[in-house]
Structure formats: structure tokens, C-alpha cells
């Protein structure tokens, strides 16, 4: 019986001890932690970029993909080293508040309003403003991200610019609170409209084997530009932020190699992003 007790405590101690090194193991290698938006992961762009970046610099890029709102929050809390996000106004505020430095615009795609091919609200080919007003007038189903992501912030802006109040509590307006692809799926189920970034939409088209129930109805409007930027977390606010690695990354992604990769990244033969680093 005494021996059993020994075994018990030994096993327990061993298990507890084995927990500790696992927590610190990551500190040895050069690891750059990035918070980013769902679209960069869901489209598969980061899976192409990360291995090339490692080849070029030996730095292991790891990322956690959330909405832009939470990504900025992770930056404020010093939990990541660098951000790749797409909400210019919120980003500028983030930098102005001293949380981030060295904001670099690296690429853009555009937002599109997608909806059922039958187009019950008759928005096809209209301007963004007229399209939203028409959806509102017809009370057609509209699915919003509703998660403070870059896309959500853009959508809220578009309602404001159109002169329509955000239809927060209308029965036809659903706030999914989920990522872009999930939101598109919900919109398809509800036979409704939504605002999507083109990259995720092309991925969706690809998933649907090129015959998606939702089609692009409104596009090409200047207001629909979707700019992505990279921001380093400010080491003055966050001692542990690896500003050196973050700078290497933003220089690389904004440099010829990174920009070329972005340009050449295609799904279904269509480019998803346009590289535009200055």
C-alpha cells in the first residue's frame, strides 16, 4: 500500500513537471506571432506565404486568425508581435494610440455584395448606395458578419454612407457573429444578401465547384476597396514584442518577394489579392 502511494505521487509529479517545459519550448526558436483576419487564413494565402518567409529569413511565422477587432485587441494586450488586418480607420487609431508602429499597406482586394441569382431586391449592377437602399426597401434577407471584423466595420460604414440607419433590429437583418465563409453559407441558406471580400467569395465559388447559389451582384464601386496592412506591435508599450522580427516580416511582405507571392496567389485561376505596397 505504501508503494502504491509512492507510485501515485511520482506519476503526479512527473506529469506536472512535463507540463512546464512545454510552456517555454517556443522561446528557443525565432518565432514571430501574428494576429490576422480570417480571410487571409481561410483563402489559404498564409499557407503559401509562411513557408517562403521561413525559407528567406529562417523565421517561423505563426498566426492566430480572428476578426480584425480581436486581432487589434490581441495587439493591445501584447499577445502577438505583428498584425495583418484590414480596417484602415481602426488601424490608424491603433497606431495613433501608440499600440502599433510601422503600418504598411501591402495589398488589397475589394468587397462585393453577393446575393441569390434571382436577385429578389433587384440590386444587380446598382451602386452600393442604391443596392443597400433597395435591400432595405424590399426587406430582403441580409446577413451581416456582426463580429467587429474589418468586413463588418466596412458594412456599417456603407450603411452610414448610404444614408440608411444600420438595420440593427430588423427581422430581415441577421448578424451571424462568425467568419466570412460561415456568413456566406448562412446567407446562402437564407437566400439572402451579404457583403463579402472577393477573396473569400472566390474560395466559396471554388468550394461550390463553380456553381454557387450566391452571385456577385454589386462590384467595382470605389467605396468597396479593401486594404490590408501589416502593423508591428509597439515595443515601447510591449517589452516582449519582437519588433525586429516583425520589421523583417513587414519589409519582406512589402518587398519584391512577398509582393510577387501575393500577386501569384490564385484560386480557380483567379487572383485573390492585388499587391500594392509602396
Amino acid at each position: 500500500m505504501v508503494r502504491m502511494k509512492h507510485v501515485y505521487w511520482t506519476v503526479l509529479l512527473l506529469l506536472l513537471a512535463s507540463l512546464i517545459p512545454a510552456g517555454f519550448a517556443g522561446a528557443q526558436e525565432k518565432v514571430l506571432l501574428m494576429a490576422t483576419t480570417t480571410s487571409t487564413e481561410d483563402t489559404g494565402l498564409l499557407n503559401v506565404i509562411a513557408p517562403e518567409f521561413k525559407k528567406a529569413t529562417g523565421i517561423d511565422l505563426r498566426w492566430t486568425a480572428t476578426g480584425t477587432g480581436k486581432a487589434l485587441k490581441l495587439g493591445e494586450s501584447c499577445d502577438v508581435d505583428v498584425l495583418m488586418v484590414h480596417a484602415p480607420d481602426a488601424e490608424k487609431k491603433f497606431v495613433a494610440d501608440g499600440f502599433g508602429i510601422n503600418r504598411k499597406e501591402i495589398m488589397y482586394n475589394d468587397f462585393v455584395i453577393i446575393g441569390p441569382a434571382a436577385d429578389p431586391a433587384g440590386v444587380k449592377g446598382k451602386s452600393v448606395k442604391d443596392a443597400l437602399l433597395s435591400i432595405q426597401a424590399k426587406k430582403a434577407n441580409f446577413v451581416s458578419r456582426g463580429d467587429k471584423s474589418g468586413t463588418h466595420m466596412m458594412e456599417l460604414d456603407l450603411w452610414k454612407v448610404s444614408g440608411a440607419a444600420v438595420p440593427e433590429k430588423e427581422a430581415w437583418y441577421a448578424q451571424a457573429g462568425q467568419g466570412m465563409m460561415a456568413t456566406i453559407t448562412i446567407a446562402a441558406e437564407k437566400n439572402g444578401y451579404t457583403l463579402a471580400d472577393r477573396g473569400t467569395y472566390i474560395k466559396y465559388e471554388n468550394n461550390m465547384k463553380g456553381a454557387p447559389p450566391l452571385k456577385i451582384l454589386v462590384e467595382g464601386d470605389q467605396t468597396l476597396l479593401n486594404q490590408y496592412s501589416v502593423i508591428a506591435v509597439n515595443p515601447a508599450k510591449c517589452q516582449k514584442a519582437q519588433v525586429e522580427l516583425a520589421t523583417k516580416f513587414s519589409n519582406w511582405i512589402a518587398g519584391p518577394e512577398g509582393q510577387k507571392l501575393i500577386k501569384e496567389f490564385k484560386v480557380m485561376g483567379k487572383p485573390l489579392f492585388t499587391a500594392n505596397a509602396k
Partner: protein, 229 residues
């Protein structure tokens, strides 16, 4: 509908071809569930035993608290653990955010009430006569405790399995504390969430089946042990 069937074949493909991403997620899932279950059992079984075995003045109140904690929402635990482990949080120095150990801590909080409550019930529901019989047979205090534990073993194993099922299938804590980082903290469940977000439903189903197969393996080995003892 056809993604269900596709998912089934995909699951077999992932396992037979040794898909590295899947195995990395399997590894992460096994590590976090093993860590958390080990700590949970080490802490929870003695506590559950005490709660079931001894009579003390606030026993009922403690029981109500433990039973309430059975309903702790996992995303809430995730937020709590995040609040402590973020670099701006009190335990930020430990560097546990976005690590498997960090997830394991959250899962331990999730599983502890399960093990305590169920093992307490297992011990409590033992035949009251057992104690009398053991004492009359001349058992000392230690023998009394160990015999009671042994007699309650099936209930305790059930407690362990229930807790294992909870931690292995958990997604809120793993997402919030782990961050779903590829090759690092992506567990099977957060991978399923990601594949679903990407609209890759077949892949999500496949990963779900992989998880079920692991659970099946664990349960088969436990039931084998149960037969032998």
C-alpha cells in the same frame, strides 16, 4: 448531403496516408487531453472521494457549488484563462498563452468539477454496510479507504471517461487560449471549426470521425481493463 460520404472517405484517407496536418492536430488533442486529465484525476479523485466519503457540516453546500460548476460554459473558462495568461494579465510572465499547456489549464478547470462530482457520487452510492463490514474484519483506516476506492472503481472510471470526453471535444477554450495556431495549438476540434469556416465541410466531417475513432480506441482499452479487474 454528399459531403457526409466524402467526409467518411476523406477520414480514412487522412489516417492511412498519415496526413501531417491531421496528425499534428491529433497530437495536440492527445497532449492537451492527457495533461488536463492527469492533473484533473490527481486533484479531483481525492477531492471527490473526500466529498463522498466524509460527513462534514457544509457538505451539502459544497456539493451544490461543485454541481453548479458542472455548467461552466467553456468559452467563459477560455475568457477567464485568457485574462490571466495574456501578457497584460497577472500570469502573463508564464508565457502560457497560445500554448498547449495553456489549453490544458483551461481544460483542467472544465474537467475538475466533472471528476469531483461523479466520483463523489460513486463513493456515496456505495453500500453503507461495506464500512461496517470492513471495520468488523479488522481493517485499519488506510485499508478502509483503499477498499472503498476499489469497490467504487467502476463509478470512478466512468467519471474519468466522462471528463475525457469533455476535454477531448472542447473547442471554446482551445480556440480562445490556444489561438488555433497551425502546427502548434491546432487541435482536432479547432481544426474542425476552421474547416467549417472555410466551407470545407467534408474535411470537417473527416476530422470529426478521426476524433470519434480516437475516443473509440480509448473506450475499448478501458473496457478491456474493466473486464480484467
Amino acid at each position: 448531403m454528399d459531403f457526409l460520404l466524402q467526409g467518411f472517405f476523406k477520414a480514412i484517407e487522412l489516417l492511412t496516408t498519415g496526413d501531417p496536418e491531421t496528425f499534428s492536430a491529433v497530437y495536440a488533442t492527445l497532449v492537451v487531453s492527457a495533461y488536463s486529465l492527469a492533473v484533473t484525476l490527481a486533484l479531483g479523485l481525492p477531492l471527490g472521494f473526500c466529498l463522498g466519503y466524509f460527513d462534514f457540516s457544509i457538505k451539502k453546500q459544497v456539493r451544490v457549488v461543485v454541481d453548479t460548476l458542472l455548467s461552466l460554459p467553456t468559452v467563459f473558462i477560455g475568457l477567464l484563462v485568457y485574462a490571466f495568461f495574456t501578457n497584460r494579465g497577472p500570469l502573463g510572465e508564464w508565457g502560457l498563452l497560445f500554448t498547449l499547456s495553456g489549453i490544458a489549464v483551461g481544460l483542467t478547470i472544465l474537467a475538475l468539477p466533472v471528476v469531483i462530482a461523479l466520483s463523489a457520487t460513486a463513493v456515496e452510492s456505495m453500500d453503507r454496510q461495506l464500512r461496517v463490514a470492513l471495520i468488523s474484519l479488522g481493517a485499519n483506516r488506510q485499508q478502509l479507504v483503499l477498499s472503498t476506492l476499489w469497490e467504487a472503481r467502476h463509478g470512478i472510471i466512468a467519471a474519468g471517461l466522462t471528463a475525457y470526453g469533455r476535454v477531448m471535444t472542447e473547442v471554446g477554450i482551445a480556440m480562445m487560449v490556444g489561438g488555433n495556431i497551425k502546427w502548434q495549438t491546432r487541435t482536432i476540434t479547432t481544426a474542425i471549426a476552421l474547416e467549417t469556416n472555410k466551407g470545407e465541410f467534408a474535411m470537417g466531417i473527416a476530422l470529426g470521425l478521426v476524433l470519434l475513432m480516437i475516443a473509440f480506441g480509448v473506450n475499448v482499452s478501458v473496457s478491456f481493463l474493466r473486464k480484467r479487474y
